[in-house]
């Protein structure tokens, strides 16, 4: 749903745009961080004048912490009375995430499927404005086309930026994105018809590429669940796994959580925070019985959930192909290989 009016902003003027946006929103961008000799990009608050770097691939962390804060207060209670003497957390200011890659933006839409009735998540989707940034180059761990996305995808974004010939084409994707663009109309030139044609041609070429891949979701859906579950591949995949859970924490579409009570001096809160199906306690009953007590069962559950259970229910993988789990896995487990073996 591309609105007719798009802007064209020169690459070196991007800071002007950020400074203007920073007046009305709390803007976050990926910032370069350095720890000893290790450099990486991480989401951080934009201050006027900060460098906005364009780099290949995605920041180290996904944007899910903006949607599921770690931890998130569900409600507060007073311990002298009862759990329902509660106060829901206050609303936060409107935030803007600037420079979100299409894979990360798409994760918002995928997570919304199971979270469709979760008021906390839905509120966050209303609070966070997403400014997407198309990928001109891909990292070797990227596989968004296989996961159903595109390097120029706009799903989940409000505004999409694409760098073509040293200028950003700024398109409105949603209505609220369009309203923001309207306010910028007198400050930046409008993109020409030929710019838009170029953009559309590029996007169409990716679409064609994706369609050349036989739909893996369809192929998986046609497979028998228990046959996939009983494949010997799970023993092979899990052999090297150390159940560290980094894949689940970095994954933009791993959305499982735990709920706990925290109390201090008679006041308490019920909080939820990220949990991981890689951990044995995740499924352990109070009796000690554990339905997924063995490592290979947990590894299998993670991949089966993303690549079989989820698509069976929602017709799409619970994976956007960002490649974080591939890049950061300490024992080099590669979800692309697992998918290939499942197919």
């Amino acid at each position: 749903m591309t609105l007719s009016k798009a802007l064209k902003i020169a690459e070196n003027e991007i800071k002007n745009l950020l400074n203007i946006l920073n007046d009305s929103f709390q803007v976050f961008i990926p910032k370069l961080k350095e720890k000893t000799s290790y450099k990486f990009y991480e989401w951080d608050i934009y201050n006027n004048g900060d460098e906005f770097n364009i780099f290949i691939g995605v920041p180290k962390s996904s944007i899910k912490s903006f949607f599921f804060p770690q931890p998130e207060t569900l409600f507060k209670f007073s311990i002298q009375k009862d759990t329902t003497a509660l106060k829901e957390p206050e609303e936060e200011n409107k935030r803007m995430l600037f420079g979100v890659r299409p894979c990360d933006a798409r994760s918002i839409i995928l997570n919304k499927l199971p979270y469709s009735e979760d008021s906390y998540y839905i509120k966050k989707t209303e609070q966070n404005i997403i400014i997407g940034l198309s990928c001109n180059e891909r990292r070797n761990s990227c596989f968004c086309l296989w996961a159903g996305g595109s390097p120029m995808g706009t799903e989940g974004t409000d505004i999409s930026l694409t760098l073509i010939d040293a200028s950003f084409i700024v398109e409105a994707i949603t209505e609220r994105g369009g309203k923001i663009i309207e306010t910028l109309g007198d400050k930046f030139p409008v993109a020409s018809t030929s710019d838009i044609e170029k953009l559309n041609a590029l996007r169409a070429s990716y679409e064609k590429q994706r369609q050349s891949i036989p739909d893996p979701v369809k192929k998986i859906q046609d497979k028998n669940l228990l046959e996939l579950y009983d494949k010997p591949l799970w023993n092979d995949v899990s052999l090297s796994c150390i159940n560290c859970g980094i894949c689940t924490f970095l994954c933009p579409t791993c959305y499982c959580f735990d709920i706990q009570d925290e109390t201090s001096k008679g006041q308490g809160k019920r909080i939820r925070f990220w949990d991981s199906c890689m951990f044995p306690l995740f499924t352990q009953h109070a009796t000690g019985h554990n339905p997924r007590g063995a490592k290979h069962q947990r590894v299998r559950n993670r991949f089966m959930h993303k690549l079989k259970y989820f698509p069976d229910r929602y017709n799409v993988f619970s994976c956007v192909g960002c490649g974080r789990c591939i890049k950061e896995c300490p024992v080099n487990i590669d979800i692309r290989e697992v998918l290939r073996d499942m197919l």
């Binding site: 009862d82 759990t83 228990l226 019920r270 939820r272 949990d275």
Partner: protein, 278 residues
């Protein structure tokens, strides 16, 4: 938009010690908000999330029948953090209740007009108690009713008073058994599957509702198979660790099946198509 995670305050009205060892108690509650109390509607087989502020939240099957007016009861075994705290609570104490949750037994649909076979073991009898009370209240809607319930010894049987009452009725056949002979016990002796074999309930036009320890279920299945029961006539009630109870948090899944949202009641036919992660 409704908040899925808020619980309602409830007051403990009465506590009944069910078993000789004192490890299982029934808590009779009243929801504090009259509006919520009036709007509370559940089906036997459903559960609720019970919470104690500062301790946490757990899923517990509802032991009362919706036909018992203004009563909401839960039979709880002392086993983990929350249940231990609950067992230390007194009449008048407050807890949180969120529910009712999940799919109960299809008493208003498929089960109507059918012969009902209830098989329970140990403390897996709580939602079956709710079911039996409901069946008795709506007796004309169902055909023959058989109840087979067993425990290791008489001291571990739940709802003893009601078991006695039901045994006296002539509109339901109650078969209460204990594993081994005990002085003073005049009832049936033997494991549930053995009693099931003796009772030999007919499969035609029937449904079985089963809840109990895995061994009881395992050895009851060949008996039902021999009696030509089909897998879609056999209903189980599942349990797994749970957090959100809304099909989101990912804890209770048996493959693609969320016990909280898609269950807890499931046919044997459906269960056979799922991984054995329970």
């Amino acid at each position: 938009m409704k908040n899925l995670y808020l619980s309602h305050s409830a007051t403990i009205k009465d506590i009944i010690i069910e078993t000789e060892d004192g490890n299982i108690k029934t808590f009779i509650l009243e929801l504090d908000d009259p509006e919520i109390r009036d709007n509370w509607k559940h089906i036997p087989g459903q559960f609720a999330m019970m919470s104690i502020a500062g301790m946490g939240e757990i899923p517990i099957g509802i032991a009362s029948s919706p036909t018992e007016k203004d009563i909401l009861s839960f039979t709880v075994s002392k086993i983990g953090v929350v249940t231990t705290e609950l067992h230390n609570m007194k009449t008048g104490d407050k807890i949180g209740i969120r529910g009712p949750i999940g799919n109960g037994y299809p008493l208003k649909n498929q089960l109507k007009g059918k012969n009902i076979l209830i098989i329970g073991g140990g403390y897996g009898f709580t939602t079956l108690r709710a079911t039996i009370i409901y069946l008795i209240e709506n007796r004309k809607d169902y055909n023959e009713i058989n109840v087979i319930y067993g425990a290791r010894n008489p001291g571990l049987l739940l709802y003893k008073k009601e078991l006695e009452e039901w045994s006296k009725r002539n509109d339901i056949n109650c078969h209460i058994t204990v594993d081994r002979e005990v002085p003073g016990w005049t009832g049936l002796v033997g494991f549930v599957p053995q009693i099931l074999e003796k009772v030999s309930p007919e499969s035609e036009n029937s449904f079985a509702l089963i809840c109990g320890p895995p061994a009881m279920i395992k050895f009851s299945m060949p008996v039902l198979e021999k009696l030509t029961w089909h897998d879609n006539q056999i209903l189980f009630s599942m349990e797994n660790r749970m957090k959100c109870a809304a099909g989101v948090c990912g804890h209770c899944n048996i493959g693609p099946f969320y016990v909280c949202k898609d269950g807890p009641v499931i046919t044997r036919e459906k269960l056979k198509q799922l991984p054995t992660e329970y």
